[in-house]
Symmetry: C2
Subunit: 221 residues, 2 copies
């Protein structure tokens, strides 16, 4: 069976929920309990899990620690993954530092920039290197994932460089639609889009209030 990104992202959420339950000493749970505690849908939890097998006991529920371990393994988080960050401005540095001192499954093995002002900077345990060194590092260390945190103008080039160097997956924080290489798993996350979404719905809510209060509102459609 083919598993969708939506299902997969929810598995990550379930993993966090299970971890939180385990830390609170809960040993057994059910789809209903998870749904109630974390604002999820019980049927959806079961459907999502069903993509990967059977994890529970009918009439009983799920073993928290066991299900957590199974999900972690499914998502590949019981193995370590090396990662480079291209573009060590504000966002790149934040990502590098964050991953370095939260112990996640990801090892940041390099941070790269083309700005001479930034090359040489110490960021946590890392020294920022020149973009020219990128291919060597990726090839030698077999780096799997590249994070793009360069300005919009430089994003396509950074992406092409990563691909040429043999990267397997790319997480792109720049706001450009990349011309993609289909053999490389690519995901774009444009943070401003989320802010834009929020303020749109604020405006929509404001229109509703005006309408309810009986005012004429030319803005509502």
């Amino acid at each position: 069976m083919d598993v969708s990104c939506l299902t997969l992202n929810r598995l990550s959420v379930y993993l966090r929920c299970l971890r939180s339950l385990r830390e609170r000493g809960v040993e057994r749970t059910s789809s209903q309990e998870l749904a109630r505690n974390f604002g999820l849908n019980a049927a959806q939890i079961r459907k999502d899990l069903a993509c990967f097998g059977e994890f529970g006991i009918r009439g009983v529920g799920y073993d928290v620690a066991q299900l957590e371990a199974r999900l972690r393994s499914l998502l590949g988080l019981d193995r370590r993954h090396s990662l480079v960050v291209v573009g060590m401005g504000n966002l790149g540095r934040a990502v590098a530092r964050h991953l370095a001192h939260s112990r996640s499954a990801f090892d940041v093995v390099g941070g790269f920039d083309s700005d001479p002002e930034i090359i040489g900077l110490e960021v946590g345990p890392l020294t920022v290197r020149s973009t020219g060194e990128l291919p060597g590092v990726i090839a030698e260390q077999g780096v799997e994932v590249g994070v793009i945190a360069v300005p919009a103008e430089a994003a396509q080039e950074a992406y092409d460089d990563l691909v040429a160097a043999g990267i397997r997956a790319v997480l792109n924080f720049s706001p450009v639609r990349l011309r993609r290489h289909p053999e490389v798993r690519t995901r774009t996350v444009d943070l401003r889009i989320y802010l834009e979404e929020l303020v749109f719905f604020l405006a929509a809510a404001r229109d509703d209030e005006e309408a309810e209060s009986g005012l004429h509102s030319a803005a509502s459609r």
Copy 2:
């Protein structure tokens, strides 16, 4: 009509595409041209726009500058929006700096933290203040949006504080499922989820290769 988040997020994408075309001197375009240039679907562009009115001329296409302006206005980006950041660690600082010196529609009017080590720090044009000052700033300046960039343990409290202070919308970067207040527009973006998604599909791709090369693979389902 009710507009979905997916449609709305695509409008943000279209806006970036139009801006890019305009900067390249293109004055007129069509849904097909947009689709071809940016890897989109022409019918979907038209459907998305149709939620808000008619923007094109049949047989001709769209005026780039005009459509850009209309979308910007629709999304509320022709007005300014004030924003506070709660949690001025790596990520919070990066967001604050980023919004401060990309000229977007968002004004960062405050950065807050509870750590005495961080309070008082200069971040761009901002001085980090104590979380205690949060309610005053939100009320006095009528702040619309709060960004949560605190560690997981502190996220629910930061959220409740923002809501109590009268915030209208929240962008949550912490990996917790918040107990939400329904009157506040809330959006969670967990960056690690995207990394987890990428490595899952890498593992899946690796399984496929093994299968193709005729090796026995117990991992594939």
